[in-house]
Assembly symmetry: C2
Homo-oligomer: 317 residues x 2
């Protein structure tokens, strides 16, 4: 890795674009964020990203590749972004082509959950593993899969959508008509709703924001029985989707990140219990359930690392 | 494929061992079945299989490899059979080593559902595909996965257990403590139970055997509303597990085999409806749901084909 060059990672979110420079897996500089909501179309936003890249390259001449993580479906080989639901004007944008024309550098464009998975696999909790499931728990639930040492992208490069998988065939219809999708049970809002209802039913008047996952984790640590019971429910629901991944893919590890995972043992302890109770020995003997190493920087780290690998550099040593 | 040699495929079932000779994907001879229940230990059964192999090789000197499909977990590289629940004396049996010592031929031992998947992938409905999910519906529910042109075996070679994946996180506990496992909803017995209850509740006195999947398919074809409604329920439950595979793996095709799949359009039409209603465009545009090509011979064909490939022959052309 001695000659591993610098790379730019771009984490394109629904509200802002975060950009950073990566050296040997470390974020050595982060650029000012770009607010996506002030743009009506894709072109001026791409132009602003390009200017930012230009500035970073002036400071760091050793940058050899650019990786972008997008909050939506991407055609991986061509880097065409199909559609962003939360950012105006992003339909069928050939981002890889446009950015590489502008920068004359190799550009890789990938789904953001796959970038997070890539960060954990190459630089984080899942380093060196061949069979890995990654899940990120926040407002939404995203995921990524590594099988036999390769990222699973599927026939149309949209694989890994753990948040859309169902845990209840009779559940109500989700965003895509899918019944009982995991995201509709263990997303931030859903956990908050569950806790708020439980406290209300118990006659405890709590404000909604007091029932958010971070506050709920603190309450659980203090031994609050309702908070403990909500985390047990969340763990049970989450364990169902993860158990399905185990029965299907027999991974070595499941890496869990995102804001909700900050609950730590409050979530991980009941999750381990429910997951292991539902697997036969060959599936759980060597299974590890690991907290993600990266938090907010996962997208930048993953996108930049992936870009380097796609550009032909060995990022594994 | 002009010089593709003969291979023996062995389909080791809970009640009998079926053996056949494969030439270019065709079963050219089937040997007498061996009744597994008359053996108390593994050794004499392996000896009887060996004698049968010997007889087949006398008739077909061109046999170059032997493949065995087992109804249980197998350590694929070593061919160690961990445990068979329905056959006495099969714990930690090094079947690959024993059969290759006896026959001096290359032997491959694999899980039976993976053999079925292999048959459909290399010789059947999923031929030439790179991303494939296979499922077999019978007394139990088995499955196999092909991703990026490779069979998914996982960290301990036990991947692909679609029948154990959950469709209801609140369901009752299955064989391995797993709640709501697909097998407990769409297995032969469960479909029969569902139909029998529905007819009974409707005041129609039907015997249980009249409610089995084959009879229920005939009733549905005749327009019987209860039969149609049961098949719709089965399709909905099945679609949940298959939709999860789609969101996770984004396959090109799902191949469905086993006795229950003989219902044909009675099952496939509502299944297509439920599955497509729960997927976003990128996941369903090119997705095909295909009936399996092979039925009872799938295990023999898959095991023999896999054995040839493992022995270094190209079975793809």
């Amino acid at each position: 890795m001695s000659d591993l060059p610098l790379a730019i990672g771009i984490d394109f979110g629904g509200t802002s674009v975060k950009t950073g420079v990566l050296y040997r897996g470390n974020l050595i500089e982060e650029a000012p964020r770009i607010d996506t909501q002030k743009f009506e179309t894709a072109a001026p936003l791409i132009q602003e990203i390009n200017e930012l890249i230009h500035d970073l390259r002036e400071k760091h001449p050793g940058i050899k590749a650019i990786g972008v993580g997008m909050p939506g479906f991407v055609d991986f080989p061509t880097g065409l972004v199909h559609n962003l639901t939360n950012v105006k004007g992003w339909q069928k944008i050939p981002l890889k082509k446009e950015l590489s024309d502008l920068t004359q550098l190799p550009v890789t464009v990938e789904n953001d959950a796959n970038c997070m998975t890539y960060a954990e696999w190459k630089r984080g909790a899942g380093r060196g593993l061949k069979h890995l499931v990654a899940i990120t728990l926040g407002t939404g639930v995203g995921g990524g899969l590594v099988i036999d040492g390769r990222m699973v992208r599927g026939a149309n490069f949209v694989a890994g959508e753990l948040g859309q998988s169902s845990i209840d065939y009779k559940g109500s219809e989700g965003e895509y008509g899918n019944r009982g999708s995991l995201e509709d049970y263990v997303g931030n809002q859903q956990i908050t709703d569950l806790a708020h209802s439980a406290y209300t039913n118990d006659g405890q008047a709590k404000k909604r924001h007091e029932c958010e996952p971070a506050q709920l984790a603190t309450l659980a640590l203090q031994g609050d029985p309702i908070a403990l019971s909500i985390w047990d429910q969340v763990a049970q629901m989450l364990s169902t989707a993860l158990m399905n991944c185990c029965w299907l893919l027999n991974p070595e590890a499941i890496v869990i990140g995102g804001g909700v995972a900050n609950a730590g043992p409050t979530l991980f302890t009941p999750l381990e219990k429910h997951l292991r109770a539902q697997l036969s020995p060959a599936f759980k003997e060597n299974l590890r359930i690991l907290p993600a190493r990266f938090s907010n920087e996962a997208g930048i780290v993953g996108a930049a690392t992936l870009a380097l690998e796609e550009a032909g550099f060995n990022v594994d040593d």
